[in-house]
């Protein structure tokens, strides 16, 4: 039978590849739209409360986008957007909401305690760990600057 190396080489050469151009364009467009919606929310918040501090406006935008991501996940739309857009809908904060809400929904059947609560961060866990660790590191570096 065929040798190991020759076979691996053949598979590497012939395996179907993702359509790069299509993926990049879809990610750019959808990611851009999501960010534009975020900018829109920012403008609306500023319009409603002109005196609000810049940081607070940012928090409002994040909260709104997280809610939007979670809501679209719950009604079963976000996975379809993700199927089309790939990284375009994974990278923005709505994608983060999706990665927390989707396992929470999936494991709802195993109960609130060992299902939803235990499995909620199955996908987002690494992001949170990296976020916390890097914030500590940046904090320490900032202390000496």
């Amino acid at each position: 039978m065929i040798e190991r190396e020759i076979y691996q080489e053949h598979v590497k050469k012939t395996a179907p590849k993702s359509p790069m151009m299509r993926s990049l364009i879809a990610a750019f467009v959808v990611g851009g739209i999501i960010c534009s919606i975020g900018e829109g929310v920012k403008d609306i918040v500023k319009l409603i409360a002109p005196d609000m501090a810049k940081q607070d406006v940012g928090s409002w935008v994040s909260m709104s986008m997280i809610f939007l991501g979670a809501f679209l996940t719950a009604i079963g739309v976000y996975d379809k957007i993700g199927h089309f857009a790939g990284a375009g809908s994974i990278v923005p904060i709505t994608g983060f909401a999706n990665s927390v809400v989707s396992p929470a929904m999936e494991y709802n059947r195993e109960g609130v305690f060992f299902g939803v609560c235990a499995k909620m961060f199955v996908i987002a866990g690494p992001i949170i760990v990296f976020g916390v660790v890097s914030s500590v590191l940046v904090g320490i570096i900032g202390l000496f600057l």
Partner: protein, 381 residues
């Protein structure tokens, strides 16, 4: 009778008394449409979880096969079953509804082949008269176990396959099926169901597998596969992991029985997918074996391209629904007379690729031949 290491010939042959299949809506929309006994409108089938739904499909498929062969569950000596869920939970939970000796088998998506091989050996050896073989898989329960939550917005790679939502079961028997057994009793199965379960069945699908049955199918030979690993480590490219195992089994089978590939009317592999099928043809062509147009991969052929499953179907329910639905009908109406069935499986779990293990594959082969039944007994069903 042992032919050579892992290859055997049954002394009398073991008959397929009946086959029964249950699939989801997407499967019915695919290329094998019209060949399944029962189609579900909703793949939860009124249950609270997809695992429970798979278990119910498995249970009903076994009940259906038993009813279709005019037997009761007390007539079955041994049940052989397998699926993809942790610790064979779908088959084990399904088996608790039967007063029957039970063997749970696992060889990933090739489990149906393993069931048929073991079942026919048990019968031919005189250890049982009636054996059921069944396997199931469910897209949603497999996604959750092997991949990601359903609602996660990620993209599938072009080499990915789509787990078939379906359960297939067959009844193997020592005695040649006779006229009475030919009456398809699919209606009975649905009548026996309670109102709640019946609600989720597609109306048009009720007992519509009708064809002229003038042959009976029997297992005559088999080759038990070896675990083959050529170092593929991409768990979303299972076709590449399984193709060498399928090639190994086919080469060994032909060598052991000293045959050419055109000895068979048709060759069916399990779920290599479109790319895996190409790879198998590539490996075999290097050995001078040309599979030509009598070869079909049930996974690659399962779905239509517009159903966006990339490489096609996979899962333990893939070959078992196609075999018990499509292939068995082709055998029984005489369109095919001697075939080689090679279910394939990728032997991994969620953790092995993370621990940098490569993915081994396995493939089992069994030969099915047909016998003509006397003219006066054959009947339009």
């Amino acid at each position: 009778m042992k032919i050579r290491k892992g290859s055997f010939r049954l002394s009398n042959g073991v008959y397929f008394k009946s086959g029964y299949t249950i699939v989801g809506k997407k499967e019915e929309d695919g290329n094998f449409s019209g060949n399944f006994d029962l189609v579900l409108k909703n793949d939860l089938w009124g249950e609270k979880s997809y695992e429970k739904a798979e278990c119910k499909m498995h249970r009903e498929a076994i009940s259906g096969a038993i009813a279709k062969s005019n037997l009761t569950r007390d007539d079955v000596d041994i049940m052989l079953a397998g699926d993809l869920l942790n610790e064979l939970s779908a088959s084990s939970l399904a088996a608790r509804n039967f007063p029957t000796s039970f063997l749970g088998l696992y060889n990933a998506c090739s489990t149906f082949g393993e069931c048929v091989l073991v079942g026919s050996m048990l019968i031919d050896g005189g250890f049982a008269d009636i054996v059921t073989c069944s396997t199931s898989s469910h897209f949603s329960s497999a996604e959750r176990q092997y991949r990601y939550p359903l609602e996660l917005g990620n993209q599938r790679t072009p080499t990915a396959q789509w787990t078939v939502t379906g359960a297939g079961a067959c009844v193997l028997s020592k005695k040649k099926p006779n006229f009475e057994d030919n009456l398809v009793k699919s209606d009975q199965v649905i009548e026996d169901m309670n109102e709640k379960d019946r609600k989720f069945i597609l109306d048009t699908a009720v007992a519509r597998v009708k064809y002229e049955k003038n042959h009976v199918a029997k297992v005559v030979e088999g080759t038990i596969g070896r675990v083959v690993d050529l170092g593929i480590d991409d768990e979303s490219n299972m076709g590449a992991a399984m193709a060498p195992a399928a090639a190994d089994t086919i080469i060994r089978h032909l060598g052991d029985f000293d045959r050419k590939i055109d000895y068979y009317d048709a060759i069916f592999t399990g779920d290599l997918g479109r790319y895996g099928k190409e790879l198998l043809e590539y490996i075999l062509s290097k050995e001078g074996i040309d599979l030509s147009d009598t070869y079909m991969d049930t996974g690659a052929s399962y779905f239509k391209p517009e159903q966006q499953t990339f490489q096609g179907g996979s899962g333990a329910g893939c070959i078992s629904t196609v075999f018990n639905g499509y292939i068995l009908s082709k055998l029984e109406n005489g369109a095919l007379n001697r075939i080689l069935v090679v279910p394939t499986g990728a032997l991994l779990n969620k953790d092995t690729p993370l621990q940098k293990e490569t993915i081994p594959g396995i493939a089992h082969a069994f030969v099915v031949e047909t016998e003509k039944i006397k003219e006066k007994y054959s009947k339009k069903q």
